[in-house]
Amino acid sequence: MMKIAAVTACPSGVAHTYMAAEALREAGRRNGVEVVVETQGAAGIDTPLTEEDIRDAVCIILSNDVKIRGEERFAGKKILRMDVNDLMEKAGALVKKIRIAFS
């Protein structure tokens, strides 16, 4: 199964970080793509990406509202950046697009 890795974060780190993450995971489930998401919120870093996740991912999606910690992990990978609101709204279309582009 194709894999996409993502990291989400937002200014307050209370809600959008997690909504965007879940929207991406849900889009993955609906499109037959494994989407793994690390959340960097007020509660800390949850479900951190593993080296394997990063290696296997066809591309990395990063939210761009606030600085993502540990971006150096993605050196050499194709990176897509979007704000969390767009990620929430367009997760389905984005995952579909990536699926087509990388298959």
Partner: protein
């Protein structure tokens, strides 16, 4: 310590003409139930967050939230509006009829990570259509039960980072 959601903080048929009015009325309810130490500060922090980017998340739902020093107990207030109000001045189509207000204590040193995880679980569930439907169509008692149930389970895995296990 108060539960994250009190039955009194689920409001049905809230009557308000504007978003500002909705925020004020819900803040008053949270204050009355003992979640706030400074309602003015909370309102300011809430508005500041809305100014940055309105918290309309689609599907007729607004989720005003902030980390605020005016909050003494992490908590939620949920309201179904008698008639929709426009949530975002940047988006024409942003009529909101369900509002989920999240009040989180601003003191990050003492921030209850467990609470933040539970609130995160709720935010994640809002991305699921069946959950949204159940909140839109259920009775206030049902909403209270359903959300309380959600808040009883932490669906996020702990990273163990704080304990230096990585």
């Amino acid at each position: 310590m108060l539960p994250l959601l009190e039955r009194q903080c689920v409001i049905d048929e809230l009557t308000a003409k504007t978003k500002e009015d909705v925020l004020v009325q819900m803040g008053i309810r949270l204050d009355a139930e003992g979640y706030l130490s400074d309602r003015t500060q909370f309102a300011e922090d809430l508005n500041e967050r809305e100014m940055k980017y309105p918290t309309y998340i689609g599907y007729g739902i607004g989720i005003p939230h902030c980390l605020s020093d005016g909050v003494c107990e992490d908590g939620l207030c949920i309201a179904r509006l008698a008639s929709p109000v426009r949530w975002s001045d940047r988006k024409k189509d942003s009529d909101v009829s369900l509002v989920i207000m999240i009040a989180a204590n601003g003191n990050r040193e003492e921030a209850n990570v467990k609470h933040l995880h539970l609130l995160a679980s709720l935010s994640m569930l809002l991305m699921h259509e069946d959950f949204r439907e159940s909140i839109f169509s259920g009775t206030p008692d049902f909403i209270y039960q359903k959300v309380t149930e959600v808040l009883g389970t932490d669906s996020l895995e702990s990273t163990g980072e704080a304990e230096g296990q990585l």
